[in-house]
């Protein structure tokens, strides 16, 4: 939780707050005159939207999240129309943000790293349009995969789309860079990507805020050809984007910070890597006659070459420290090789996988490891996450397991959500977890080439996000498969955000997609209904067509949250 400080009698300004990286980004967007914030929940980015909703609400003008007044009823002016909304997925969120920009107001879309994959189409193409109201794309990467299925590096995708990328190194910079990103976006008519990583997003420190500006409103874009990406116009826009690269590079170069010190070692840090380096810098200096390494810090991309060249010309060897891929390191090494030895992820001085730490950077700097305490006499077992006490998913998975007892052939494809925990003992219930919506598509694909009893297991939120379209394919080809939708009304794993559409809407939607009415079965996800549920799952698995079983009960976490408020 964010908090203000009450330091009595010390003249402590109200413009300072203790904020996480996520909260600092959200506060910066509010202070930058944001009108539209859009997101789909995803660790470690979720708290950005939660913070925005506390301040704006999801209905314009009400300042009230979830269940405020009807749209438009209390809105007085265009300026007062400010919203912060959860969306069906990252792509829809991104497109809403684009609309806000076209309307001339400031927009932010936030997501986790893999969310950007879902939004890649609008993201890459929005680099070509003439951004009008400032558009900031915040992507929180999860190196180390604390709560993710890969550790992709969003700086690479910013480079791919040819858009500027800002990478803060602490909470203060998360605030400052997000403020700047809005101005930069409007000035250069381009989206700006702000990249966070887990430890920045979820760590808290004191942030000094700048005075808030008024809500930005430039009026609707009047240059429609700059937004119509038909080939003729798109070619012009692409050249315009390429033409801006030199400016982006020069600005990034000016923002990077070079301090020449020791000739023995040059260190290049990017983003949060600076914190782990600075943690160890004093000790390196003590071990080297008091002199600090020469240090170049990079916080913006596309990166320029001048300061890197100046650093390399000054030192005997270089260490590159960055969170994620060896993105800068690969440039520094180049095809023809750097003039001095380079250490980093590509040569293993920094571990190529996982997140950085003060220890791994310490070791890369050649400092001796610090011994910690140890236990000798006992093995400490892991304590993996598990279903909450009374979780409806546990009852649904029990029913599914029981229904499959004695079946020699089946395929249970799962998806991204709390129910993925059923992959672990004691459940051992599902066989795949790849990406949002994949359960439905993989079950369908397998069934279409002869896999018997192909079952997709998916949450309601994930179904709306990316599962629906797979079901349309299944209906079209009448693929014999069963989709089990675990409908708990929330996105549970990220802290119980409400699903985009209510439980009562789901059967109607399924019918509309073309699933036969008699094969849409709505069940109560509760152990008291176990026998009925097992029988019905068996029935539908045996059906030679598309069937959907909706297992309904509210998320326990959501109930707890609702009781609290």
């Amino acid at each position: 939780m964010p908090y203000r400080l009450s330091r009595q009698g010390k003249g402590f300004a109200m413009t300072e707050m203790v904020l996480s990286g996520d909260e600092a980004v959200a506060q910066a967007a509010l202070d930058a005159g944001l009108s539209g914030g859009f997101a789909y929940p995803g660790t470690p980015s979720t708290e950005i939207m939660e913070y925005l909703q506390e301040h704006l609400g999801d209905r314009a003008g009400t300042g009230d999240a979830d269940g405020g007044a009807e749209q438009g009823s209390v809105v007085e002016s265009r300026t007062a129309m400010r919203v912060a909304q959860w969306c069906a997925n990252e792509k829809t969120a991104y497109e809403s943000a684009l609309g806000v920009s076209f309307a001339g107001k400031r927009a932010m879309v936030s997501m986790k790293h893999v969310g950007l994959n879902v939004a890649m189409d609008p993201f890459t193409n929005s680099a070509l349009v003439k951004i009008h109201g400032g558009l900031v794309v915040v992507v929180a990467d999860d190196p180390g995969m604390h709560s993710s299925q890969d550790e992709q590096d969003s700086r690479v995708l910013a480079d791919f789309a040819r858009v500027p990328c800002f990478e803060p190194s602490d909470q203060q910079e998360a605030y400052d860079m997000t403020r700047l990103a809005f101005d930069y976006s409007e000035k250069h008519e381009v989206p700006v990507l702000v990249r966070l990583t887990t430890r920045l997003a979820h760590a808290r420190a004191l942030v000094t805020m700048a005075p808030a500006r008024e809500v930005a409103d430039r009026g609707k874009c009047t240059d429609r050809y700059s937004w119509i990406l038909m080939p003729e116009m798109a070619r012009r826009r692409w050249l315009a984007l390429l033409g801006k690269q030199a400016i982006f590079k020069a600005d990034a170069e000016a923002a990077s910070r070079l301090v020449l010190g020791s000739k023995e070692l040059g260190v290049i840090t990017c983003g949060l890597a600076r914190a782990y380096y600075k943690e160890n810098e004093d000790e390196w200096a003590r071990a080297h006659g008091g002199e600090r390494p020469s240090h170049l810090h990079i916080g913006r991309y596309p990166v320029g070459a001048e300061k890197i060249r100046a650093l390399v010309a000054h030192v005997e060897r270089v260490l590159v420290i960055e969170e994620g891929y060896p993105f800068i390191e690969r440039d520094v090494r180049g095809i023809f090789g750097a003039p001095v030895p380079v250490a980093g992820k590509m040569t293993g001085e920094i571990p190529p996988a996982g997140e950085l730490s003060a220890e791994s950077v310490r070791s890369a700097l050649g400092l001796h490891a610090i011994e910690g305490s140890a236990v000798a006499g006992i093995e400490v077992p892991g304590r993996p996450p598990q279903f909450c006490q009374g979780c409806p998913h546990a009852d649904s998975i029990t029913a599914l397991k029981k229904a499959l007892e004695g079946e020699a052939e089946f395929f249970t494809a799962s998806d991204i959500g709390c129910y993925t925990l059923s992959a672990l003992p004691p459940w051992n219930a599902v066989e795949s977890c790849v990406d949002m919506g994949a359960s439905a598509g993989m079950a369908r694909g397998a069934a279409s080439v002869g896999q018997k009893h192909a079952i997709g297991v998916i949450g309601d939120s994930t179904f709306y996000h990316s599962g629906m379209t797979n079901l349309i394919d299944a209906v079209r080809y009448r693929t014999p498969m069963t989709l089990i939708i675990l409908d708990n009304g929330t996105t549970g794993m990220t802290g119980a955000q409400p699903t985009i559409s209510g439980t009562s809407q789901l059967p109607k939607l399924l019918e509309g997609l073309g699933v036969e009415k008699e094969h849409i079965r709505v069940l109560e996800a509760h152990k008291r209904a176990l026998d009925t549920n097992v029988a019905i799952i068996r029935e539908e698995i045996a059906y030679n067509g598309v069937s959907v079983i909706v297992m309904v009960r509210e998320c326990i976490e959501w109930l707890k949250k609702a009781r609290k408020s």
């Binding site: 010390k10 203790v18 730490s357």
Partner: protein, 192 residues
């Protein structure tokens, strides 16, 4: 001066709110703080870990380097063992609750867990649940632990009491009083 604190436990124990109490009290006492925690999967009954760094100068790393922690607050005893490699060999202290949460099949014998903790040069094992019950609210057990290490923190106890009041006041006077009492009971424990 730096004081690096690891707070660990099991999802649902409320360890993160204790971290906020100490952090606020430290800042109100003029220190710089940095707090780090992991959300997401770990909330579901798994291990929960928070790092709290307090210093009189700028703090860099959001996480405490291995071997550098001054205090490990373990709201569950097995979790104390999990993070021992972060504990400073020279001066680190483990302050652990004795009540196990056995939500895994392979939970070791509790006596051997406690024996491992006792082997450390500086360990304080506290029956925090019992003292919290006496204080009137079993959910205040975490503050018993904070009280039991109040002498190790660079913060005046009054500052912590002030933040307990500030943080729990919206939950009513009874909760505030129980938490203040829990903190006081923790402070009154004599350490050998």
């Amino acid at each position: 001066m730096t004081c690096d604190i690891i707070l660990c436990g099991v999802g649902g124990q409320g360890g993160l709110s204790v971290s906020v109490v100490i952090a606020r009290a430290a800042m109100a006492s003029g220190f710089v703080v940095k707090q780090s925690e992991i959300h997401g999967m770990s909330q579901r009954g798994g291990e929960v870990l928070a790092n709290l760094r307090i210093s009189d100068k700028e703090i860099y790393s959001p996480t405490i380097p291995k071997g550098k922690a001054d205090i490990i607050f373990a709201f569950e005893p097995l979790e104390a063992l999990r993070y021992l490699s972060w504990l400073s060999v020279e001066h680190g202290t483990v302050v652990a609750a004795t009540t196990p949460i056995r939500n895994i099949p392979s939970y070791p014998d509790i006596e051997s867990v406690l024996a491992e903790i006792r082997k450390l040069p500086r360990a304080r094992l506290i029956d925090a649940d019992a003292l919290a019950k006496q204080a009137g609210n079993v959910r205040s057990a975490n503050l018993v632990l904070v009280g039991a290490a109040a002498d190790l923190l660079p913060i005046p106890p009054e500052a912590i009491e002030h933040e307990i009041v500030a943080l729990f006041s919206r939950k009513g006077e009874a909760v505030v009083q129980a938490n203040l009492k829990a903190f006081a009971y923790g402070r009154s424990i004599q350490h050998g």
